[in-house]
């Protein structure tokens, strides 16, 4: 059972921000509810006021960035499913469509939102791997104004973000450029689909050689991270299976890894390596197929 609370449905972003300013720590924003409602049921969160964003106009679209290029911006209420099937996302950044389609099940994808997932900061969430690899950033609004926070900066720890209580993520920006050589690979927790380990690879290729490479890892630690060692080892290199295999080895070494009923730290470390390898090799394959 969820303890009694006040449920508000603001009709504009200003009204929503007003409510947050007024109630501060006692208020919680509600988007798709697939992170927050379970948390309320488990009494992990007990807000006094629930501010449902779903009547706020202007948060539900995916738009090209006005400055040109292949960048775009995803509104706070855009669901996983909308991202998965969006022609714009599929054309400009198939990696984001791929990760959205890898989340949970159809019900979850129809309700959950990208912004909600980011703000929920579940360490097993899928998006962070991709958002880190793509250098995406959240557009954060409050009565005090607007700021941009990189995905890596926003997610601070287990269910912990850099957001102030009065702030709302109004959208997530993907500045681009986005390359065809990209892939996401994950080990799914059997029941929910959450990532035991997930790896996103985003490559700029010259033939089989990676002129640039970004590898984002989620699921294995309190915070998602970029596998800088892997990136450094492979930048400028031919992406042979052997080279990639060697590069991913020990990618999580030195980090404090999650150990729980689903997987031990050692197993997670292993999964992170395997899925990083698979993501990189699949990305490389896609890049050369498209070239």
């Amino acid at each position: 059972m969820i303890p009694a609370l006040e449920y508000r449905t603001p009709e504009s972003l200003e009204e929503a921000l007003d409510l947050l300013e007024r109630h501060g720590e006692e208020a919680k924003v509600l988007a798709g509810g697939h992170g927050l409602i379970p948390a309320l049921k488990l009494r992990l969160a007990a807000p006094r006021v629930l501010v449902d964003l779903r009547r706020v106009p202007g948060l539900s679209s995916i738009e090209p960035l006005p400055e040109g290029g292949d960048g775009f911006v995803v509104g706070a209420l855009v669901t996983h499913r909308e991202i998965e099937v969006s022609p714009l996302v599929r054309a400009r950044c198939p990696l984001l469509a791929e990760v959205a389609g890898a989340i949970g099940d159809a019900q979850v994808r129809n309700f959950g939102t990208l912004a909600g997932s980011l703000c929920h900061a579940d360490p097993a969430a899928d998006y962070p791997a991709v958002l880190l690899a793509l250098d995406a950033e959240a557009v954060v609004a409050s009565r005090r104004g607007e700021r941009r926070v990189s995905a890596g900066e926003l997610v601070q720890g287990v269910f912990e973000t850099a957001l102030e209580p009065d702030e709302i993520v109004r959208s997530v920006r993907f500045p681009g450029p986005h390359f065809a050589a990209a892939a996401y690979s994950k080990a799914r927790q059997a029941a929910s689909g959450f990532a035991l380990a997930g790896a996103a690879a985003h490559l700029k290729l010259d033939g089989r050689r990676a002129t640039d490479i970004a590898v984002g890892i989620t699921g294995v630690a309190a915070r998602p991270f970029r596998a800088a060692g892997v990136e450094d080892a492979l930048r400028g290199q031919e992406l042979s299976p052997e080279a990639v295999e060697a590069a991913v080895r020990g990618l999580a070494a030195g980090r404090e890894l999650t150990s729980d009923i689903h997987a031990s730290a050692e197993y997670r470390a292993r999964l992170a390596e395997v899925h990083a390898k698979r993501a990189i090799l699949r990305a490389a394959e896609r890049g050369s197929a498209g070239a």
């Binding site: 059972m1 080990a187 059997a190 029941a191 929910s192 009923i261 689903h262 997987a263 031990s264 197993y267 292993r270 999964l271 395997v274 390898k277």
Partner: protein
């Protein structure tokens, strides 16, 4: 006279469950669906500690809470609590939420005691948590080891799993009068449940207790009596003067609803150069909770001349084991069949061939199953593509995905259980068959009218089967795969007797002897001149005002049932060497159950058994937290069962031996599944994973532990 066992028209065919539409449309009323006027809801307060003593308990502390109607103490101050989930008290309230709040509000003081959460911990600690070992032996193993052509040593094991009945344990208890109690219970034994509650209320003179279970959602051996919740619901209902519903929640079901004990074994075994098992030595142990044993048959199926076994039960602070679908046998098969594969590998012999060479002439309990096993091994091997597609253990193909094949055998009894039935035939032609059995989802509801229709020469839909009530003729609990045998026999014999009465009337009307008559196609007619006869209705109309009511016991049906079945299963798996993930690609189950009564239901039992076996082998494990002793996965999210996509292709073959009569099939198909999968995984990756479930992490650990292929492994 008629039909079965001489010939059959309906038995052996596929008849869809008569209650299928009611079930899938939600119209079938299960215990949980009984919402009587004034119904109260009860919840049980359970021990939050794995081991504790109640210092003080104050039932008055919930008095006056919203909706509170009645409190019942199950344990008093001073009582010891043996596991997290042990019952302490129960409260009935107007709503489920109020009952839950009341239970939470109950004031109890505990003295927390040290607990044991694992078998290793118990063995390490010793003392009274480790029971005196049980030793059995025959022949001379040491001498046999000296002469062996191949010897293997291995460690094998299986974790505790729980039944996970989709319908949890529980009931609605309703006192219709001070001496008239009706229970709507989810049970495998309507009779024993009613009797158990009646025995509890010795103070009520002439108490009438009836248990009604028209539908139930699975028991698998865990629902044979009223249990504590049955007695408690009846107590609360009596105190409150209102009907009370007490259904366990999923977490209670896991911790208190029973489980299958763990089984671990250190085995040394040997065979001669012909592959004949000559010596089998095993040290085994397991836990059945805080007071139950963890016994299982071993050696299993095969009967080595020289064997020695030492078994030790260890106690942990967890809920007690209960019978679970073929109690002991899946564990026995798992251990024995891995040993047989390891021997085959060591000797370089095909595992199917090695098994054939070891089929026992006489099974300990039953007649020889040798020809049946041979047929099954042959058919299963052919269906899975064993001889063409299986590579020797440890063979590597390029890439991370490796394929493997494995097989295993199982055996079970399945004799006809005690059963009585009454067949009533009315002057208007209606037929009612009453039998105090119950349908656990196995299809007994459909079997009863099928058998009666077979005997009476009618259609299945012409028969009104009445089961699922202790008010009907007693038919025993549904366990040991004994229901279909017992029920088929008692229904057939009661129907025969009733038909004899109809024949007597018809014979007089037709001017022939009753012995000259036949009943078929809805008619009663003279065998020699079939045109000379009556419709069923005409024949029954001859009864006038009389209703026929004939009862029979299954013992009257001699030679119509048998016991002793063998089953073989073959698994094909792929294993991802990088992630350790196992995928079951295909499982072929060849099952034997004598006369197949209803082919659809029978296949359905085999599918269900196989699916449970797949879960046992790959996914299920009750996990206790070492520090607190609490189960950390008492749900269906973290205790995750296979979804359809995890199952692979399941192919079922039923061998027909109608001459053997009816034999039960509920339990046997779940026996060899996990063993076949474990053997397939070993075949794929070249190493043994020490225990089931074969989780990805354990598979990886086993692969990592293999530095070099051990002597004798990886060859063959």
């Amino acid at each position: 006279m008629p039909k079965w066992p001489e010939s059959r028209q309906i038995m052996g065919t596929k008849v869809a469950r008569l209650d299928g539409a009611l079930k899938v449309s939600g119209k079938a009323k299960y215990s949980y669906d009984r919402n009587l006027p004034g119904l109260l809801h009860a919840k049980i307060l359970r021990s939050p500690h794995a081991h504790a003593k109640i210092i003080q308990i104050d039932p008055e502390s919930v008095k006056g809470l919203p909706g509170d109607k009645a409190v019942h103490l199950i344990k008093d101050a001073g009582s010891e609590l043996h596991y997290a989930g042990d019952e302490i008290a129960a409260v009935a309230a107007e709503t489920e939420e109020q009952a839950r709040d009341a239970v939470r509000a109950m004031k109890v003081k505990y003295q927390v005691l040290p607990h044991i959460a694992s078998e290793e911990q118990a063995l390490k600690q010793g003392g009274d948590v480790v029971k005196a070992p049980n030793v059995s032996q025959g022949g001379d193993v040491e001498a046999a080891f000296k002469e062996a052509a191949a010897t293997i040593e291995g460690t094998y094991g299986a974790a505790v799993i729980t039944h996970v009945c989709l319908e949890t344990h529980g009931l609605v208890a309703h006192w219709r009068a001070p001496d008239d109690l009706v229970l709507y219970a989810s049970t495998q034994a309507v009779g024993a449940t009613a009797d158990g509650v009646r025995g509890h209320f010795k103070d009520v003179p002439n108490l009438k207790v009836v248990c009604e279970t028209p539908y139930m959602g699975g028991g698998y051996g865990s629902k044979f009596g009223p249990d504590i919740q049955g007695l408690v619901a009846a107590e609360l209902a009596r105190k409150a003067g209102k009907p009370v519903k007490l259904m366990l929640e999923r977490d209670e079901e896991h911790v208190a609803g029973g489980n299958r004990p763990s089984a671990y074994a250190k085995v040394k075994a040997a065979c001669d150069d012909q592959g004949v098992l000559t010596a089998f030595q095993a040290e085994t142990w397991g836990t059945g909770g805080n007071s139950r044993g963890a016994g299982f048959p071993l050696p299993y199926v095969y009967a080595p001349k020289n064997f020695q076994r030492k078994h030790t039960d260890v106690m942990v602070n967890a809920g007690d084991a209960r019978a679970m679908r073929a109690p002991g046998h899946p564990q026995g098969s798992l251990i024995m069949e891995q040993v047989m594969d390891d021997l085959a590998d060591k000797l370089g012999m095909d595992p199917v061939e090695l098994r054939v060479r070891n089929l026992p002439e006489t099974n300990r309990t039953f007649q020889t199953l040798k020809p049946i096993y041979r047929r099954e091994l042959h058919l299963g091997a052919e269906r899975i593509g064993w001889f063409e597609r299986r590579r020797p253990r440890g063979h590597r193909s390029p890439g991370p995905i490796q394929r493997g094949f494995g097989c295993a055998l199982g055996t079970w009894g399945g004799a006809a259980g005690g059963s009585q039935s009454t067949c009533k035939i009315y002057p208007d032609g209606r037929v009612e068959v009453l039998c105090g059995t119950q349908d656990l989802g196995t299809g007994t509801t459909t079997i009863v009218p099928m058998v009666a229709a077979e005997i009476l020469g009618l259609e299945v839909n012409d028969i009104e089967g009445r089961i699922g009530s202790s008010a009907y003729p007693p038919s025993g609990g549904s366990g040991g795969s004994t229901t279909v045998g017992g029920v088929s026999l008692s229904v057939a014999m009661a129907s025969r007797k009733a038909l004899g009465k109809v024949f007597a009337k018809a014979a007089a009307a037709l001017g022939v002897q009753a012995a000259d008559l036949e009943a078929e196609g809805g008619r009663v007619f003279v065998r020699a001149t079939p045109q000379n006869g009556l419709t069923w209705k005409q024949a029954c109309a001859l009864l006038g005002q009389e209703t026929i009511s004939e009862s029979a016991d299954k013992d009257e049906g001699r030679g119509m049932s048998d016991q002793g079945v063998g089953g073989a299963q073959f698994a094909e798996v792929t294993v991802d060497l990088e992630t350790g993930a196992v995928r079951l690609q295909k499982l072929v189950a060849v099952a034997d159950c004598g006369l197949v009564v209803n082919r659809l239901l029978c296949e359905s039992q085999v599918y269900g058994g196989v699916i449970m076996g797949i879960n046992y082998g790959l996914f299920e494990e009750r996990r206790l937290d070492r520090a607190s002793g609490l189960q950390i996965n008492p749900d269906m999210e973290w205790y995750k069962l296979a979804k359809p996509a995890d199952l692979g292709e399941i192919e079922v073959h039923l061998l027909d031996y109608p001459e053997r009569g009816v034999i039960g099939i509920g339990e046997p198909p779940t026996i060899p599944t996990a063993a076949a999968i474990a053997n397939a995984v070993c075949n794929a990756i070249g190493v043994r994973v020490s225990s089931i479930p074969l989780t990805p992490a354990k598979v990886l650990a086993a692969l990592a532990a293999k530095t070099e292929p051990k002597n004798g492994q990886g060859k063959g």
